[in-house]
């Protein structure tokens, strides 16, 4: 995801800016807080995943897992007390990017989930507490060897086309995702080494894997694994993405590409999961999703009333909107990786631990957040995961506190002496670090503030802004000292891609730190397949400690998304992933 994000943002800049477009039109909102935002296509969350696979998770109420997340979860803040819900009305939601295919099994843009999570439903939901709750599945358990999961399904659910939801539909969907002919882009990354499903009875399905897939529940609760009507898929084939049929509280009505998608209330809906606040049909008559890529224009439509909910309000406007009674801001902290600089542990001089540690002491994160994100509540990051991520290890927060004197001391002790220009050198070799990032306005801002902070302790950052994919390719070959990275993910297994030494692969690998450590690899490998939640999170805690003790990354700020609503909109809550909003409880009361 994230890289993708950068990548595309970047591309956009390439594509557009030659025309003068600038970041603007691009999709993104440069000035918005860290990550989230803007990104276009963030893609699928990859394997994101999850939590709790606990072994027998049970059902109903609170799911399985017991493991708790260290996180505090995304905070939505309802402004003022909510009035009693009323039925009716149309909500117009300005998306930051245009959905291009509403087939959950094929699509990969994260923005697509905003739409499809209203039309389709997952087997399992993740609540704001990061625990898993029954959705179309009422309970689930895993086999002792961790190779299969058995789900009991609801018996009272119908697809929008009137056909019944059952075990065959679940199997059909998973088989379809796994079938190469489907060319699945997003969903396929969530199903691990899926080997097939057995229909135990009409409402019991056993899903099998070639090796344990610890993050399966996390994948299951994403829109990409939403359950679709097999009848409709057979009927529409490749065009299913333009005629989506699911079981959700809203029924697909219309999709005009690059303009809008309309969904309408499903009057028969009566199987809401317990994480929502009401039962029965949704309150809104209709939701219109309008794609408005340019952030300033998107905000203008909120102000004129053309939309009453928008994605990603630019950071510099947050203060103004907060003062204005006509609007509310919904904040959602993103799980995943923060804005950070991955350090190359192979190439001198960043191969020296003292140099890497000195950077962690020399960075003044609140100052960067203030300069780059207008002080809008993005939190300083302490490690390779944002605090709201499942398995976040709080202990690393104590490792490095802003302390310039300590940074200087570390460098002195390691033999790096300051020269006349203030920059340090050792044996004639200057302490100069090649710092690579995608050419995006706010990243440029962040790099420059970092450069000035590092200068204060004698480290010279050589800033190199590049096309996003070029940055990723160069960093995968180890040509950098510092390379920017960030990215949403709801499961800590994202660390595997960035820190497992098997992913040091020139041109295509994501391990930019090039740190080869058996204990780290072991923890990350086991994390993918460990079915005991508590043990699994322990593995990721170890990984985070190894990563930060060796400073494989210099974290800066956590991701935060800011949605804007008009004050007549109530009941909208962000999903724990912060990728999309829950609309089922939403209503409009002027």
């Amino acid at each position: 995801m994230s890289a993708t994000r950068i990548t595309r943002r970047q591309l956009l800049v390439i594509g557009a800016s030659s025309l003068g477009l600038l970041t603007a039109a691009a999709c993104s909102s440069p000035s918005t807080p860290p990550s989230p935002t803007a990104q276009p296509p963030a893609a699928t969350q990859a394997a994101a995943a999850t939590k709790a696979p606990a072994a027998t998770a049970a059902a109903t109420a609170a799911p399985a897992a017991t493991a708790q997340p260290a996180a505090t979860q995304a905070a939505a803040q309802p402004a003022a007390a909510e009035p009693a819900p009323v039925k009716g009305g149309e909500l117009v939601y300005g998306l930051y990017y245009a959905p291009d295919n509403l087939d959950p099994h094929v699509a990969y843009l994260s923005v697509v989930q905003n739409v499809i999570m209203n039309i389709f439903e997952p087997l399992v939901w993740q609540g704001p507490d990061l625990k898993f709750y029954p959705g179309l599945a009422t309970s689930w358990k895993t086999s002792d060897d961790g190779l299969s999961w058995t789900f009991q399904l609801r018996k009272d659910v119908k697809f929008h086309d009137g056909t019944p939801f059952n075990a065959a539909a679940v199997k059909f969907g998973l088989d379809r995702i796994a079938d190469p002919a489907t060319k699945s882009l997003g969903a396929v990354t969530l199903i691990g080494k899926y080997s097939g499903s057995d229909i135990v009875d009409d409402y019991t399905v056993k899903i099998n894997f070639k090796e344990p897939h610890a993050a399966f529940l996390d994948g299951l609760c994403q829109g990409f694994l939403g359950i679709a009507s097999p009848t409709a898929i057979k009927k529409y084939g490749q065009d299913f993405g333009f005629h989506p049929v699911g079981t959700g509280p809203f029924v697909f009505k219309e999709f005009i590409q690059n303009d809008h998608v309309t969904v309408e209330r499903n009057p028969d809906y009566n199987w809401a999961p317990s994480i929502f606040k009401h039962q029965g049909p949704a309150y809104l008559d209709r939701i219109v999703f309008k794609a408005i890529p340019e952030s300033a224009v998107r905000l203008a439509t909120l102000e004129t009333g053309e939309t009453n909910l928008i994605d990603d309000v630019p950071g510099k406007e947050i203060g103004r909107l907060r003062q204005d009674k006509r609007f509310n801001i919904i904040e959602a902290a993103m799980p995943g990786m923060p804005e950070q600089w991955l350090t190359n542990t192979e190439k001198a001089p960043s191969n020296e631990l003292a140099v890497r540690q000195a950077m962690c002491y020399a960075i003044d994160r609140p100052a960067i957040i203030k300069a780059v994100w207008f002080g809008v509540s993005a939190k300083p990051a302490s490690g390779p995961l944002n605090a709201v991520t499942l398995g976040y290890d709080k202990s690393i927060e104590a490792l490095y506190k802003f302390d310039q004197a300590k940074a200087k001391q570390l460098l002195e002790d390691a033999g790096w002496k300051a020269g006349a220009d203030g920059f340090r050198a050792k044996g004639g070799v200057p302490l100069k670090l090649t710092t690579m990032y995608a050419a995006v306005t706010w990243l440029d801002d962040m790099a420059q503030v970092l450069q000035s902070q590092m200068k204060q302790v004698g480290i010279n950052l050589d800033l190199q802004k590049m096309a996003g994919p070029a940055k990723n390719a160069a960093a995968s070959r180890g040509e950098h000292h510092l390379a920017h990275m960030s990215g949403p993910s709801s499961d800590p297994n994202m660390l595997d891609r960035f820190f497992n030494s098997k992913n040091i692969v020139p041109n295509t690998g994501w391990n930019f730190s090039r740190f080869k450590d058996a204990a780290l690899d072991d923890a990350l490998n086991k994390g993918n397949t460990e079915m005991d939640v508590a043990k699994r999170l322990q593995l990721y805690a170890q990984a985070q400690q190894i990563i930060m003790k060796n400073v494989l990354t210099v974290p800066v700020a956590e991701g935060l998304r800011m949605f804007g609503t008009r004050s007549e909109v109530y009941g909208v809550r962000p999903d724990p992933r912060a990728f999309y909003l829950w609309m089922y409880d939403a209503f409009i009361k002027k």
Partner: protein
Amino acid sequence: MLRYVGARLVMAVPVLLGVTILVFSMLYLLPGDPVQAMLGESATSAEHVERLRRELGLDDPIYVQYARFLGNALRGDLGRSLVSRHQVLDEILSQFPATAELALASMAIAVIVGVTLGVLAAIRQNSWLDTLSMFVALLGVSMPGFWLGLMLIFFFSLRLGWFPATGQGGPERLILPATALGIGAAAIIARLTRSSMVEVLRQEYVTTARAKGLAEHVVILRHALQNALIPVVTMVGLQFGYLLAGAVIIETVFARQGIGRLIITSILAKDFPLVQGAVLFTACLYVLVNLLVDISYAVLDPRIRYGAK
């Protein structure tokens, strides 16, 4: 004339071929592995990336992919979008009306505003009207379309509430984007019309017309303007190409449908077949417009006869 048109159409073939080769190679010259860039870190494994590469037919050598694309294109099959899975041609055709509407509306604004300003400036040469017109023209050509678009939204949607900021359907949603897009071309047309008019007004036949006692507006509009417009028509044709390019930005700013928006999203998604198809389509359009411009000369100026030796 027919021979001329035929020859021009034949000449368009290498142009279009060149365009496809350029676009094809550009997609591959972009840094980074295409499949990896497409998936981002969501590709959990190298195995995944390879599988998708195979599924999308991106594992063949580039010349094989190009030949396949060209062969299919000649049969009218531009393939399916990698993302939406729609036929590329269907996607283009579904977006084209919005771009056509925008381009025509902005061209109308450009011609009306540009010619009016130009003529006014020419007949009141060196007056305050001339200075003002040319200043406005200078402004128009200097303002980047996306900035002007944002300003128009700011004043006319946000402050005054006269027009909706985004979308399409109805003249009220067309006027702001068409103005943002057309004003640059209007400025260029104004300057050209002025200089062309000034030159024509000095010609002897204009003096003759005046000497005959014709009313001044007849002299200006019937005699002078018609001749002065010949270079302007060329410029209008050329500007049409710029309008198509500008539509990329304006469609994004105003969140409109269109070919430009389609190109942007398909580039971002690395949706190769769609990028190819959309660029090829735009190139065809450009060639066609240029041809029409050339033909229109003959209509406007009987002295020009193509193909006659």
